[in-house]
């Protein structure tokens, strides 16, 4: 929070050693670039070169050893019209929206319930946060076991206690996407919780006292004081989660690999299969570009909204 508010002041500060270096010639100009060189080379080779290559491939039929053939926008129209891509786009959007929204809501509830400086609260928060630092590959294996589709599997036993189930979870077309989404929320909500708690610490406490003096109960206080103060936090978490949600791959790859019968196929798993298993590099690249485009548009939109609001 503070870093944002302080940023403009810092930029105005005269510091940064400009006068000291004036008159030292070309060497002084080259020096910062020398320090930047390793990072710039790595980004150029492993980020921008692949991006350029992807743009190039997305307009070609990629034929190893034969040379690429220009096909214009054919790959893109294949992406937009192909049924597999359409349903993958739909699953990606459902999953991104569900996971983002679910994590935000549950993360906020967790933050409100676990806010405070007491030592035991710190312990509970740490325990709740663990799913976020666990490697996704581990999380996926653990949840495959929890979702074990037998009637005496863990999740089904729990469902049995409240008189529901048994469910096939990941193994049935009508439950698979929701089961994956639940795992995403389980891992995403604690992250959002920690950010919300940091945001809550920045809310002016005297406002709470003042609203109580005006006769507002906790819920009205929450609605009129807390939530408005958290708006920037919502914006950040929304962007981060939406971007992560769009490029979801590992959890799907390990939990269902797109199945059963394509019911959890998302853009990234489809692109991976097209590119590395079926060698349809051009179409896979076009799919990646659509995904990148969506990410860029989403990021810039939220940025623009935030800037307009800040004014």
């Amino acid at each position: 929070m503070t870093s944002l508010r302080e940023a403009p002041a810092r930029r105005r500060a005269p510091a940064l050693g400009v006068p000291a270096r004036r008159g030292r010639g070309a060497r002084a100009y080259a020096l910062p670039w020398l320090f930047l060189l390793p990072a710039l080379i790595l980004f150029a080779v492993f980020k921008f070169a692949p991006m350029v290559r992807a743009i190039e491939m997305s307009f070609h039929e990629v034929r190893p050893y034969l040379g690429d053939r220009w096909v214009g926008a054919d790959n893109y129209s294949a992406v937009v019209t192909d049924d597999a891509f359409r349903s993958a786009i739909w699953h990606t959007v459902v999953l991104a929206v569900g996971q983002t929204g679910g994590s935000l809501v549950i993360g906020l509830v967790l933050a409100l319930l676990l806010e405070g400086a007491a030592r035991h609260l710190w312990f509970v928060r740490t325990a709740v946060f663990l799913p976020t630092v666990a490697a996704m590959a581990v999380v996926a294996e653990v949840w495959r076991l929890i979702y074990y589709p037998a009637p005496d599997g863990i999740a089904n036993t729990l469902l049995g206690w409240i008189g529901m189930g048994p469910s096939s979870f990941l193994n049935a077309e009508d439950t698979s996407l929701w089961s994956v989404m639940a795992v995403g929320i389980w891992r995403g909500a604690p992250y959002d919780m920690m950010i919300f708690i940091a945001g809550l610490a920045g809310v002016d406490r005297t406002l709470y006292e003042a609203s109580a003096a005006d006769g507002a109960g906790p819920l009205r206080r929450l609605w009129h004081v807390t939530l408005p103060s958290l708006r920037p936090v919502f914006a950040i978490l929304f962007t981060l989660a939406a971007i992560r949600g769009l490029r979801v791959f590992t959890e799907i790859f390990l939990l269902t690999n797109g199945g059963p019968n394509g019911s959890t196929e998302v853009l990234m798993t489809l692109i991976y299969k097209l590119g590395l298993e079926r060698n349809e590099l051009g179409i896979a690249a076009a799919g990646s570009m659509v995904l990148l485009g969506a990410t860029v548009v989403l990021t810039l939109t939220v940025q623009a909204l935030r800037r307009r609001e800040a004014r």
Partner: protein, 291 residues
């Protein structure tokens, strides 16, 4: 501290509630939350140390503890996967920190034409994760531009691409900007060069920040999946997270082996997080707020 009652110290005032009924409600709630979020991971740990025949036998309260799962897992090469993971995270993290500190020294301590463009480029790489670039990235890895080296099938292929990470650079920039310029100028007058200033003055002062980017880099590299998946050609290059899928489908390995391996893949990032928790939280808030 003011005399304000502590029920105004949180939005709901729930955690400040006193009295026996509130206490019981709080303890129940905390127990439920810990069980939901940490329970599955604890069950994994318990399962790794108990004889488990099938997934429905996973429990938080084992009747008997054993190390058999681990010996069986080591027989199936899990130590080799673990070693690969440690090599990748060790070398990768070291490079990542070196590259970040070097770049940040230019960004935070100097002013030069083109700086805003560089920052923008670095920021934009956050929209280019390995997932989205997977297909062309695998082609680049097979024939790295200019040097024409094939990194497919080598651990280097999993290490070099993570050596530059925008998040690490941006978080470090925040910290390095805080150091007063006067310290550096005094050294400059004494004739110290940039490299010496970086090593002897700036670096010691940003040591807490090294902890922040260190813990984030560690969990980020440990969690890598797409990159090892693209690079690894056979089991000898598998990292532990990557090997879990193979162990699961390995009929002879059995559930115990999978659980033992999964626990070994879980512990390093969890332990690193617990050890550097304060730094982690610092990075989480500063990084998240920066977007």
């Amino acid at each position: 501290m003011s005399t304000r009652p502590d029920r105004y110290d949180s939005a709901l005032g729930f955690t400040a509630l006193r009295g026996p009924l509130a206490r019981v409600a709080q303890i129940l709630l905390y127990a439920v939350l810990v069980t939901i979020f940490a329970g599955p991971l604890v069950a994994l740990m318990v399962g790794a140390f108990s004889p488990v025949a099938d997934p429905s036998r996973l429990t938080l309260w084992p009747d008997r503890l054993t190390l058999d799962n681990f010996t069986a897992a080591f027989d199936r090469g899990v130590l080799g996967y673990l070693l690969n993971s440690f090599i990748v995270v060790g070398v990768g993290l070291l490079l990542q920190i070196l590259v970040s500190v070097s770049a940040v020294y230019a960004l935070a301590r100097h002013k030069f034409p083109g700086m805003r463009l560089v920052l923008l480029l670095i920021l934009s790489t956050m929209m280019l994760p390995e997932e989205i670039l997977a297909i062309p990235l695998s082609l680049v890895l097979a024939d790295v531009p200019i040097v024409h080296v094939n990194l497919i099938g080598t651990l280097a292929g999993m290490i070099v691409p993570v050596a530059a990470w925008a998040f690490s650079i941006l978080v470090m920039t925040e910290f390095m900007k805080e150091i007063p310029m006067e310290l550096e100028e005094a050294a400059r007058i004494d004739g110290a060069g940039d490299l010496r200033i970086l090593m002897t003055i700036v670096l010691p002062l940003v040591r807490p920040a090294l902890g922040v980017i260190g813990i984030f880099g560690f969990t980020m590299i440990w969690d890598q999946y797409m990159l090892p998946l693209l690079v690894a050609q056979d089991a000898s290059q598998f990292t532990l997270p990557l090997a879990l899928r193979t162990l699961r489908t390995d009929e002879q390995a059995g559930l115990g082996v999978l659980l033992a391996a999964a626990l070994l893949a879980l512990l390093p990032s969890v332990l690193a997080f617990l050890a550097l928790q304060r730094q982690f939280m610092k990075g989480l808030t500063s990084g998240a707020v920066k977007g």
